[in-house]
Subunit: 339 residues, 2 copies
DNA sequence: GCTTGGCACTCGGCTGCTGCGAGTGCCAAG
DNA sequence: CTTGGCACTCGCAGCAGCCGAGTGCCAAGC
């Protein structure tokens, strides 16, 4: 009962602060959220909440603002996920439906997400290891150079130039193409290593070094999660949360240009199957200690194709943001799954 | 003579202001650049320069700062291009040499440029219409869906899904592949429209609708300059030129996320064959009226593959920036040309 | 006729002061 | 446990005053 009201007070503080960006005081709180108690009572509760580390005051005799811990509690226990309106869902769908290819899907998604949430949006391109091979193409560029193109069922195209030790002719290329496709088409890339390792043995001896090289390249292309691409949009939104950001803005932008950092933030959310929130220091990135990351995976069930999410100030409308991220992820997943 | 000294004064003002970011006064000017005249004389010159619109004072009784027009004169007549040191050239080269594919080249270039100039860097992906077809691949996805992959000699890979009205089999695909390659390999994409138009006539009648669709797709893919991709890096550098930017930062970031705007800025420079500078309102983008754009084309001579450049505050070290842009463009051009 | 030193004037920015008000903590009474 | 009262804190806005960099103008000098 008492405990309940305290949580209610915390929720009220978070909600008011998100709205106004100003420390919220006991009086305003008691008035605006009909809590049925006096400001003095609220003050007692606030005192307790501060004691426990959920809120803090920026300076003596100012209102309170939530701490990382406070936001965390809010997200975990106090907020549902605002469902999007039917019109919003339709808007998302129709905006994404116009996409003509993979690049377009990703670009549209990231822009949509940025616009919707008014935050910085990040979308990871579908990862190969979660998709399967649809076709492998081998093209002769010159007698000693081959271009290998791997096409996946998500429409992603990965290319690689292979230098061959021995010169090869068109006929041999056909042979290689047939062998590779026969062995790999339909394979999940994640399962491929074994199959790939067995490849050289299946082919006539003089081609083995060449196939070995290609096998290596296939593996490298697939396993290498380093080179995964991401799209970002809405960095302009960072300036919205102006004041307290001002100094750190530069650091945040720098961190966001580090692919590695982003991949860790977004990538770690993709397997969970639900929207995850990292608040402040939970991001494990020092420059982002005043921000929060809301991310999720997209794509069919356990085999997430990639991750997407937004980065914004800790002071953000979590229920709405989580709903938006979830909705966009759902539609993108459907779009790519059906493709 | 008199005219000469005035220009010297303008140059000194630009150089000092770029360095200090503070309005520069007559006294400091006379001291720091041994002009051989007294502050009073400098004041007279400054007065004249202001009359002519090359400099202005932010408020009465402050020093002068250059106007758009002043920077323009400086760039046109007063500044050479600082040559890069040998070490710098080597650094550029070795950084770019490590690139493994086209994506990597572009990404490295844009990062390099951003780091070098400490500005926002933009690199346009090589445009197809300036390159030639190396190979066209056709893959059967399902009886009515074909994937066409166009590979250019710059290593760019463009993909397109074709819906066929009539079902096609593997054999037909082979035929299509042969026909397309025979007609188009080695063609400059810019020259292709005619060849493409003639294609349907060369093939047996029942395939004509299909080929027509593909021909349309080829043209669309090539001619469409809309979808050209660009890479950007170093947005964090915008915060460096803090104060006067503060309010407009948001607008600038927003403008830079508009592909169309960027393409116009960078693209227009690619054909000139030299480094071009757009200062302030010359950019024709309102949000960028307090910035300058230094851009150039890269790639062999008249057939520029694409454009690259940087966006920064008007108050920028033009000689150095121009040198850096030129150098990076040169190396990238060589790298892609030799590929 | 250009250059120069002198001089009065302007004005933005810094410093220090004051008053206001929002918000707190504590306490004693209900 | 809740509530009203009360003294206290402290950030902030507003104002005055000073300082100094920088200017424009003018009369004397080369």
């Amino acid at each position: 009962m008492l405990e309940d009201r305290r949580l209610e007070v915390l929720r009220a503080i978070v909600e008011d602060f998100v709205l106004s960006n100003e420390p919220v005081g006991s009086k305003a709180l008691a008035e605006r959220h009909n809590l049925g108690v006096s400001p003095a009572t609220v003050r007692n509760d606030m005192s307790a909440l501060e004691e426990e580390g959920y809120i803090t005051q920026p300076h003596t005799s100012a209102g309170r603002i939530p701490t990382d811990k406070g936001y965390r509690l809010f997200v975990d226990r106090l907020s549902g996920v605002k469902p999007l309106s039917r019109a919003e869902r339709r808007a998302i769908q129709s905006f994404l439906e116009g996409a003509v290819d993979l690049d377009d899907v990703v670009n549209r998604s990231v822009r949509l997400l940025a616009q919707l949430t008014r935050q910085v949006a990040v979308v990871q391109y579908p990862t190969m290891s979660a998709s399967s091979v649809r076709h492998i193409e081998v093209v002769l560029l010159s007698p000693r150079r081959l271009l290998m193109v791997i096409i996946t069922d998500t429409g992603r195209v990965e290319q690689r130039i292979i230098e061959s030790l021995a010169p090869v002719d068109e006929e041999t290329v056909g042979e290689l193409r047939a062998t590779l496709n026969c062995a790999l088409t339909g394979q999940r890339l994640a399962d491929a290593p074994g199959t790939v390792a067995a490849l050289p043995a299946q082919i006539r001896p003089e081609l083995r070094p060449c196939v070995a090289t290609m096998a290596g390249a296939v593996l490298e292309t697939m396993v290498e999660p380093q080179e995964e691409r991401i799209a970002m949009a809405g960095t302009a939104n960072l300036t919205r949360a102006t004041v307290d950001f001002a100094d750190s803005l530069r650091l945040i932008l720098e961190a966001l240009e580090e692919q590695v950092v982003l991949m860790k933030l977004i990538g770690s959310a993709r397997e969970t199957g639900t929207v995850t929130v990292r608040i402040g220091r939970e991001t494990d990135v020092d420059a982002l200690r005043s921000t929060a990351v809301v991310a999720t995976g997209y794509g069919r069930g356990p085999f997430a194709l990639g991750g997407m999410g937004v980065v914004g100030p800790m002071r953000m409308d979590y229920p709405w943001t989580m709903a938006a991220v979830r909705a966009v992820a759902k539609y993108v997943g459907e779009l790519l799954g059906a493709d």
